[in-house]
């Protein structure tokens, strides 16, 4: 009897705790959604009901912000960075795993160490470099330093360990060259790895803030992340407009998450296989 009641108490505590955590995790999203439909004053006061200000907020957002351009900027940067990072990193992951050489392991360890380099220690030299190259205020300057990523190379090399070497041997017997094996056998076989890596890199690029903040100076070049940041830092921010912006900025990554949940989690976990 006593044992039974402690079990019930434990169950209540468990559900209570997990439920509370889940509620706290979701709450800001709900607040954001309701916020977009309310006026700024109602949002701050915490009105948690759909209001009638959605149309006003959306139209104010679209008059204050050149939304199509800003979205195009974000998408362009994220897609370009993702394609280039995946190409470069999967080549390197394949190369490190498939080819033996005397220095391979030493170079690979050095490469992994670069994961610990904090961006704050790179931003001044990178800024000067981009200035000298005449790339300040261009999207190329945002993308270039992000392509070479030790983390994604590591991810590809880890998953390449599971790539069946018989496939490669058979292809070699058939006379395929190394680049053909990579392009026509490795890439299709590894598509789930590419999907998972795509999600990580795309999200990182889409959400990137500090480096674009430094490099992109004119309004025509700014990304959605920079725009919501500056909308919210106004002295009296119009929270209805800010909410519309945050929803639009979160929507792409949220969509990726819900449609590709398995690859999403797999990508995040990728490194500890």
């Amino acid at each position: 009897m006593n044992k039974g009641s402690t079990r019930i108490a434990a169950t209540i505590v468990t559900y209570g705790f997990v439920g509370l955590m889940a509620f706290l995790s979701i709450f800001p999203f709900v607040w954001m959604l309701f916020g977009a439909t309310n006026s700024s004053i109602d949002i701050i006061k915490g009105r948690m009901m759909p209001g009638g200000a959605l149309a006003t907020n959306v139209s104010t957002f679209f008059t204050q912000v050149n939304a199509p351009l800003v979205f195009w900027n974000s998408a362009k940067i994220a897609i370009l960075a993702t394609i280039l990072t995946l190409a470069v990193s999967s080549l390197a992951g394949y190369g490190f795993e498939m080819f033996r050489s005397r220095h391979r392991d030493r170079i690979y360890s050095a490469l992994l160490l670069t994961m610990m380099i904090p961006f704050a220690a790179l931003m001044i030299p990178l800024f000067i470099m981009m200035g000298k190259a005449g790339l300040i205020n261009t999207h190329l300057a945002v993308v270039l330093p992000t392509i070479g990523s030790a983390f994604i190379v590591f991810y590809f090399r880890q998953t390449t360990k599971a790539f069946p070497s018989e496939l490669r041997d058979a292809a070699k017997v058939d006379g395929l060259k190394e680049w053909q094996i990579f392009l026509f056998i490795y890439v299709p076989v590894m598509r789930s790895t590419y999907a998972a890596a795509f999600i990580i890199v795309f999200m990182t690029a889409w959400n990137n803030y500090l480096w674009p903040l430094i490099v992109l100076q004119s309004n025509e070049q700014k990304t959605i992340t920079l725009v919501i940041s500056s909308l919210a830092s106004a002295y009296y921010p119009d929270y209805g407009v800010v909410m519309v912006g945050t929803i639009l900025a979160t929507l792409p990554t949220l969509a990726v998450f819900f449609f590709m949940q398995r690859q999403f989690v797999q990508g995040m976990l990728g490194s500890v296989k």
Partner: protein
């Protein structure tokens, strides 16, 4: 030498291998190795903008006499010391609760708790700034249920601003750490728990004596990742406190200070580079420390 003796085919493969890794290595060399060495060199120089002169250790001396730097360093370490353990423990508890197959709706709970990871750092900082405004929803709710008598000055009081930053980071990253633990728990043999339960080991002891030791490699990994992240903290602080570092620099972090030194005040690249090397050293030291601490306890 060995290469030449092995002859044509060995060399062919090696050349091919280098071609595969060359683009990545080249980019990392150009955009990481070269800049990090350059900022090391810069940290021994001083002057305005690009007019730099060699200055020996004067920047390092200046660090110790710079109250703003000391403040930024203390804040950064405070975030790390307070926030990382809370978050890791919370993520571990949630993971072991949600690993229970008998828990109804655990798929929903997992997704819900993981959801904050989907937001950008800027987006959630902006949301938190609104929710924690003086007359905002958090204060209103806390007042309504009688926890506080008057609104907490989240954004304007040095102590509460720090608490807000810690709450915000914990909200954003707990679910991220949790999924690492959930994945690792899949590999733990369920029968260990069964035996312990039959032997009458209470749940909390099962958690501290079975789960935590078995998950140690993952805990170490996530702790290092979180450490590196927390020490580089920028986006949240910049957006929660309008780029100023909060009331009397209470939330200023090292990264934000470097940003201010470089792009907000009269640019001083040399001194900013010195501050950035404090982050480099801190990250390296703490990662080593955690690594060795974990290995020591293994013995």
């Amino acid at each position: 030498m060995a290469l030449a003796r092995r002859g044509g085919i060995g060399r062919y493969y090696n050349v091919n291998g280098w071609l595969f890794v060359a683009p990545a290595l080249g980019l990392i060399a150009l955009f990481m190795i070269y800049p990090i060495l350059w900022s090391l060199w810069m940290s021994f120089q001083s002057g305005r903008g690009m007019m730099l002169k060699f200055a020996g250790f004067s920047n390092i001396v200046r660090l110790w006499n710079d109250p703003v730097f000391i403040k930024a360093l203390t804040n950064t370490l405070t975030y790390f010391v307070v926030q990382v353990p809370i978050m890791i423990l919370l993520a571990l508890i949630l993971a072991s609760l949600l690993n229970n197959p008998k828990l109804v709706g655990r798929g929903f709970f997992r997704t819900a708790i993981f959801l904050p990871c989907v937001t950008s750092l800027v987006a959630y900082s902006v949301l938190f700034k609104g929710m924690f405004a003086h007359d905002g929803i958090v204060n209103a709710t806390l007042e309504a249920i009688g926890i506080i008598g008057e609104p907490i000055p989240w954004l304007t009081h040095p102590f509460w601003a720090k608490v807000l930053v810690i709450l915000a980071i914990t909200w954003r990253w707990t679910g991220y750490n949790m999924i690492f633990y959930l994945a690792a728990m899949q590999n733990i043999d369920k029968s260990i728990y069964e035996v312990a339960r039959i032997d009458g080991v209470p749940a909390w002891a099962r958690f501290t004596h079975i789960t935590i030791p078995l998950l140690k490699p993952v805990i170490l990994f996530t702790t290092i990742i979180s450490t590196i992240g927390t020490i580089q903290l920028f986006d949240e602080v910049y957006n929660l406190t309008e780029g100023k570092g909060g009331p009397s620099n209470a939330t200023l972090t090292l990264s934000l200070y470097i940003y201010n030194l470089t792009f907000r005040f009269m640019p001083n690249f040399g001194y900013a580079a010195t501050v950035s090397y404090v982050i480099v050293v801190l990250v390296a030291l703490l990662a080593c420390l955690q690594f060795f601490a974990a290995r020591e306890r293994d013995r």
